[in-house]
Subunit: 238 residues, 2 copies
């Protein structure tokens, strides 16, 4: 189970131990775990005092987060955690569908028996979670499942991008809770199908489209559910 719990250092780390790095990691974690929800304002001086550092390293940290799309920054105004609307969520999911499909297909030939076993075990846990449904736990395990595959993807760039996009989605999942009734169950079934395809050495193309479809179903389910609760607006953060 090496699947990164929340995505470790996102790859582009460098200067461990420096104050700017500490602050960067801390803010990033808070964004990802929801302590800093979308729209949350990041006041540099305040953060600096909290971490007992000067504002300079805080600014550097925020710049990095800005460049990665975690926060929006406005000159002379400040930074705030990026806000996602449903459209952006859907778009990012689509990106992930594309990348995951490719990543899984690329990984397939490199999957060992033990990997498939791990995947099945993971999917079994997901199945077990279907009982009293815990969205957070399910999401975590779901991630773990998919990363069994990505870990074997030989293309580092693809892997990095997948992790990045996944992290982005996590930001949102925390706040506005995405939960589509029947989705989880069919998701588990699709997982098993993907495992089988890999197992029997299906073509890359077959594996890719199955994985992509799997993800796209989530968008569709979401869109349907969203259409259902007609008038209700998504929670706006100011």
């Amino acid at each position: 189970m090496s699947a990164a719990p929340v995505s470790p250092g996102d790859g582009t780390s460098a200067s461990a131990g420096s104050k700017h790095e500490i602050v960067y990691e801390a803010i990033r974690r808070r964004i990802l775990d929801g302590s800093y929800g979308p729209g949350h304002r990041l006041v540099l001086d305040r953060i600096a005092r909290e971490f007992d550092v000067s504002p300079v390293p805080v600014r550097e940290a925020v710049r990095r987060l800005e460049a990665q799309g975690y926060v929006d920054f406005q000159r002379n105004v400040g930074a705030r955690v990026a806000t996602f609307d449903e459209a952006q969520f859907a778009e990012t999911t689509e990106v992930l569908a594309i990348l995951e499909g490719a990543a899984t297909a690329l990984a397939a030939p490199r999957m060992r028996k033990s990997d498939l076993t791990a995947a099945r075990r993971s999917n079994a846990r997901l199945n077990a979670l279907l009982g009293d449904f815990d969205p957070i736990e399910f999401s975590r395990e779901n991630r773990a499942f998919h990363f069994v595959f990505y870990d074997r993807c030989p293309n580092r760039q693809v892997r990095a991008l997948v992790e990045q996009q996944w992290a982005k989605l996590d930001t949102i999942r925390r706040s506005s809770f995405i939960y589509v009734p029947g989705r989880a169950r069919s998701s588990v079934a699709e997982h098993e199908q993907i495992i089988r395809l890999v197992e029997k050495g299906a073509t890359a193309s077959a594996i890719e489209s199955a994985t992509r479809a799997h993800k796209l179903h989530t968008i569709q389910a979401l869109a349907a559910a969203s259409a259902a609760r007609t008038t209700r607006k998504p929670p706006e953060v100011r």
Copy 2:
């Protein structure tokens, strides 16, 4: 012809006019146009003096570049322009193949007649350039060709990623010059094929795989050419 010449502000801009922004753009441009080749060392104080600013905004600029993968940064040592080896180049091209395939397929249904005309015109220019071959000009026009499609891709995230990856590749193309003899000609032919597929309303899947294959051919050609010049090592920068 709205295809960004070198990719304008990469999307995640924010604070125009600030010194940090000026420096950021300047350094970025230099990396992209090759003034700062891979491995080039970025000494903060020196850059600060050159732009007549303090080192603080320079650091911010560099942090952003770091987060985007343009430069590598080592604590207490400094920043240098990211170095790409051939493997990374291939991996990034593969990413681009995946994304471009998807982007083009997504764009296809939205392409208007005028867009196809523009694409053909662009491809004609590419064809004309086949004579006395100018790699830079060809590369520019090639980019323009593909962006005719991406501009119609409805998924912003995908578009942003494509631009980002393309910029990354540009960094490399400037320095170590990638030129594979017969490739350009077949490239033009493949372009025409893609146009036809879109024109006749082929399935998304058909368009996607054609586009992806088009890009992957470049990797293959490169690999072949690279295998040919056996002993010669790629230019190392220190």
